[in-house]
């Protein structure tokens, strides 16, 4: 008896019982259900919710693998065991097995905890509510490990995942009903609950905090560096990375958001498969560029002295803002969430524009939040229904006017 048949038997056995949704979820995750519809007209399409989610996960996989290499690379670079990349994207210093093994050792537990805890909560709620398990967590579970620092303790991640899934999603009615992006809710929770683990210069490189402690205790260690570029710029320091290294992603940061190149590949997959809205991505880009240009203009006009605390980030060229921090990752993978984003085409332009615009504003003006993109997206998530409402009302009004003119 094959796996499919035994799952089917299992499902029949538990039909109508409390645990049924859990078994159904396993069954339909692995196979197409073997029951057919009986009446009514149905539209048959290949891209159901599960297929959509899986495509997003595929688009995220390059970022995840790169993140593993990068976690190892940053660690060994900080301990002085390897030298910095010298040969563009395919530098041998970066693509080494030892980097991948170390990175996987650090990053895979994050993935396992994120999925394990999140799906447990989803299953629990499905059983309590007596409905089928929803697919919503598949993408969230992949996003979460990519947007946290590599050294985050697993128990903190578990608490944050429980909080994010329950308060961010289930209380609103589950997948499709949530106002806020659950992955960003999880990050926001971590950020406000455990700020020492989510910001500063010792969390972005694996083991940096440990080495700092050893250094403070008078032990002989090589280096404790591990500041992100945004962190350095906020303190008016130079950033010390080559432009192309930033684009390729050989920089410290959250696990999966450093490589702008791979994020662009992910964006291409999402746009090509028509899963994410290119309007939101493009308008987010435009918003960030506009805000960056305004700040650059202020610096060029000499309205701000170079002693000012904002100078470092304000004088950063607008195009550089797009490559550093989590802006690109946020705009491509988080802002485009079809549930929490704007739904109308015009609304998407407005929604995306303000995400980019506000991200750069928070980034520059609030040194406590060196990366503002997650706050900007959460803020615009809240405004998305309002934007849609006015776009729809505006459309109705315009068409009514047209009708009046015709009848007059």
């Amino acid at each position: 008896m094959g796996l499919k048949q035994s799952l089917h038997t299992l499902k029949e056995k538990y039909k109508g019982q409390k645990m049924a949704p859990a078994f159904n979820a396993l069954h339909t995750f692995l196979y197409t259900p073997n029951e057919i519809t009986h009446d009514g007209t149905h539209i048959k399409a290949v891209d159901d919710l599960k297929r959509t989610m899986n495509t997003v996960i595929m688009a995220l996989v390059p970022c995840l693998i790169f993140g593993m290499f990068n976690a190892g690379y940053q660690h060994y670079l900080a301990t002085g065991e390897i030298t910095a990349v010298s040969n563009g994207f395919f530098s041998t210093e970066f693509w080494q097995w030892s980097n991948l093994v170390f990175g996987a050792w650090k990053v895979l537990p994050l993935v396992v905890v994120s999925y394990g805890v999140g799906l447990a909560v989803e299953f629990l709620f499905a059983v309590i509510k007596g409905h089928e398990v929803e697919e919503g967590y598949l993408v969230t579970g992949m996003l979460v490990p990519l947007i946290v620092p590599v050294d985050i303790p697993l128990w903190m991640l578990s608490i944050a995942v429980i909080f994010g899934v329950v308060i961010g999603k289930e209380v609103f009615g589950g997948t499709g009903m949530n106002i806020l992006n659950p992955a960003l809710t999880i990050r926001a929770f971590l950020f406000f609950a455990y700020p020492t683990w989510m910001s500063g210069d010792k969390v972005w490189v694996a083991g940096a905090q440990e080495r700092a402690n050893q250094l403070a205790a008078g032990m002989d260690v090589d280096s404790i560096s591990g500041e992100t570029i945004l962190g350095s710029l906020a303190q008016n320091k130079s950033m010390g990375y080559e432009l192309w290294d930033m684009f390729y992603g050989f920089i410290p940061g959250s696990v999966g958001e450093t490589s702008t190149l791979l994020i662009l590949i992910g964006a291409a997959v999402l746009i090509f498969s028509k899963i994410a809205s290119w309007r939101i991505m493009l308008s987010g880009l435009i918003g960030a560029v506009v805000m960056g240009l305004i700040f650059n203009g202020v610096v060029d006009a000499g309205w701000i002295s170079s002693n000012s605390g904002f100078y470092g980030l304000m004088s950063t060229p607008y195009w550089l803002h797009l490559m550093i921090g989590g802006l690109a990752f946020g705009i491509v993978f988080m802002a485009t969430d079809p549930v929490t984003g704007a739904q109308t085409n015009k609304g998407k332009w407005i929604y995306g524009f303000f995400i980019g615009f506000i991200s750069i504003m928070i980034r520059v003006f609030n040194p406590a939040y060196p990366e503002g993109v997650f706050l900007a997206i959460l803020l615009m998530n809240v405004f998305a229904p309002t934007i849609d409402h006015y776009v729809v009302q505006g459309n109705i009004k315009r068409r009514l006017n047209r009708l009046k003119v015709k009848n007059a």
């Binding site: 303790p153 128990w155 929770f189 406000f192 609950a193 455990y194 700020p195």
Partner: protein
């Protein structure tokens, strides 16, 4: 309760559960968010409100037949303000440190919707004894939520209760902190109080389906 008739004891007991001012009537939320980061201020606030609302209800009830209805809000405000100043002075005299911590919020008891709400809804139409019970009952219902929220926020946010280090010392890494536990900084911020109150509302309504509003 042998002391009280069934009808009277309802006045005390209802606000504690099915007619709670915070979780059911959703009144007095601002102070519930502002002062519940620690347990001690929560309890002082609860006791202050019990005092103000208990006495205030009696005073308003005694005057209910002589207050011209056009200026009743002003009269009510004067009564609350007087009582609040008494509370404030008592705190300054006997618990100065605490009064400094709470000063603004004690003053803001005047604007606590629960108090004006009970004056308007109950004391203006009932005798002094029943008004007293209603005032104490509602203030208790308010206080219970405050203490629950304060308990969780102080325990999880600072690892202490009444300032005692329940979970160990976070600086010297003893107790729970030795195994890597850390305080949840989010708990100390006001938004978390809203979420804790929300969770209490959620639990209460899922236990008693009759409380769920029709959509």
């Amino acid at each position: 309760m042998g002391l009280l008739s069934k009808k009277d004891s309802k006045l005390i007991l209802d606000p504690l559960s099915d007619d709670n001012p915070i979780t059911i009537q959703v009144l007095g939320i601002c102070s519930a968010l502002a002062i519940t980061a620690q347990l001690k201020p929560s309890i002082v606030m609860a006791v202050s409100v019990i005092f103000v609302l208990g006495i205030g209800n009696v005073v308003i009830s005694l005057m209910r037949n002589i207050i011209p209805s056009k200026i009743r809000i002003i009269v009510q405000l004067i009564v609350v303000a007087t009582l609040v100043i008494i509370v404030d002075l008592i705190l300054k005299a006997f618990a100065y440190e605490l009064s400094k911590e709470l000063s603004v919020f004690i003053g803001l008891i005047i604007t606590n919707c629960i108090i004006m709400g009970r004056f308007e809804a109950f004391a203006l139409g009932n005798g002094p004894w029943r008004s007293f019970l209603d005032g104490v009952g509602n203030a208790l219902g308010y206080g219970v939520i405050l203490v629950i929220v304060g308990f969780f926020r102080e325990l999880l946010g600072s690892g202490t209760l009444f300032g005692f280090k329940i979970l160990g010392d976070s600086v010297e890494k003893t107790g729970l902190y030795a195994i890597g536990y850390e305080n949840n900084g989010f708990m100390v911020l006001p938004p978390m109080a809203l979420i804790v109150v929300g969770i209490i509302i959620w639990i209460q309504r899922s236990r008693n389906k009759a409380l769920i509003e029709e959509l």
